[in-house]
Symmetry: C2
């Protein structure tokens, strides 16, 4: 049996009782390293936090390992119980679908243990989840690669009055350009897009396209470390959010569509000055 277990968003305590039971039942436990690791502090220390809780060793499985060694992971799952742990909910990222498809193709049973993901946890800011349009991803721009397909999607959402969740780029264990040229395995340093970068890129695209989809005055909500004890949520215009130091990743951003009175009331608790004051003691992040 292959268990795909969501770990939730905060730390090791966000696993469900059902998930923990599954992990404890398994002979082998992998934890994905490619979607996001930060919240779980999976340094050698973080790993032992998980290992201590689970009472067994945990193998860190980065994207390369999952892609290259999927067959051996699956053959273990054929003869014994294997857990594959995933930050958030198992189906946030495509890679896990891939593993499930391969398992089912060779007749291995798969059980999924769900958990919170960014997609539903953003509900905490008070914007109703059923009023979101299509989710967009904002990739890191490079000198030569500045894809802006998110602009069309945001435009459609805003035309319909819907909110837009923007997932910000995560680059972990990406082969460096130099490494690709020389045929050696060298990796870029991990990079996590912050809200400031996302807004700068969004405004750059608006500046080029000039279709008035949004502007510096458009209301957004910035989330940092969503679901963890020191999460930070600030609502304000793009211009205002550019001045906020959200601290360590992961970050995500919501571009607010048309709002109902109850949504506005909830958002008001997170508006720029107030939210910063509320969060100050815990997070020590202040306006620049």
């Amino acid at each position: 049996m292959l268990y795909i277990v969501g770990l939730g968003l905060g730390d090791e305590k966000d696993i469900t009782l059902r998930g923990l039971e599954a992990v404890r039942r398994c002979q082998k436990v992998y934890v994905e390293a490619y979607t996001s690791l930060l919240s779980f502090g999976l340094s050698s220390d973080g790993l032992s936090t998980l290992e201590k809780l689970y009472g067994k060793p945990v193998t860190l499985a980065d994207r390369e390992m999952v892609e290259e060694k999927a067959d051996s992971i699956l053959s273990e799952a054929r003869d014994s119980d294997v857990a594959f742990l995933v930050v958030g909910d198992p189906f946030g990222a495509t890679t896990h679908s891939d593993l499930v498809v391969r398992a089912k193709q060779v007749g291995i049973n798969v059980k999924v243990v769900h958990n919170a993901s960014v997609i539903n946890a953003v509900g905490v800011c008070g914007l109703q989840l059923y009023r979101y349009g299509e989710t967009v991803s904002i990739p890191f721009f490079t000198e030569t690669w500045r894809p802006d397909s998110f602009y069309e999607k945001i435009k459609r959402n805003r035309t319909l009055g819907l909110h837009t969740l923007c997932l910000l780029d995560i680059r972990v264990k990406e082969p460096s350009l130099e490494s690709l040229c020389r045929g050696k395995k060298l990796y870029e340093l991990p990079r996590f897009m912050i809200i400031e970068t996302a807004i700068e890129q969004l405004l750059e695209v608006e500046h080029n396209r000039r279709e008035s989809v949004y502007s510096e005055d458009s209301t957004c909500v910035g989330f940092a470390r969503l679901g963890s004890e020191d999460q930070m949520i600030v609502a304000g215009s793009m211009r205002q959010l550019l001045t906020v130091d959200f601290g360590p990743p992961l970050h995500c951003l919501v571009i607010v569509g048309e709002t109902h009175p109850l949504e506005e009331e909830m958002l008001s608790f997170f508006t720029c000055q107030q939210a910063i004051t509320e969060n100050k003691d815990e997070t020590k992040h202040v306006v620049k």
Copy 2:
């Protein structure tokens, strides 16, 4: 402190360790009864399952109670730790936003413990979550009230190639028409819309509007008891799904938009005949 704790979708074991710690810390524990109760079997028996796990009494709080006694719940939360337990994730339903707003207005600290919700758990069928458009609700039609605003939204989603999650009506503790007339408190029997009813209503609206937004041949995915041990997931045309007995509630439905190859591969594991065979042993639900 007011803790709003998501219980997840299956049973009492879907609470997170963080959530369980919060509940055990609290002097008073309420569990919402209005969004959905079935998965937790909250008969007197179900309640004691929770009480046994938590080691303390749990008060069932239906909508009426939360609306009428919010002040007293909040005044308890001012002086002590109170947990308010919610099926799924805390921000699936508006009522919880309401409680949070009222708490914050009077200066009571609120902590949210997230969990899986239908919104992200539908990812298990393999349709990518970022390719969903606006979520729609399908209300029970009556003789005189047949609202079809979902039709416009589904049309927009399908025009964009996006999937549509349809949440199906739940009517718990609704005052009966007779009771409203006589000024006595009498309630309708609880009703939970099944997939069959949802599809019939969808097709009725298409038949009246005739904008070819979808048809009996449109591919959908039906979910019953999502996230629980005996969940059932079947992909097929509306016509095919009309012949499937999905068993007890809760049900929900996804109308499939344009699909990528990996999505199709995942869906194929749930197509009508295969899924029924896979699920048969566990659920004893067969094609009519």
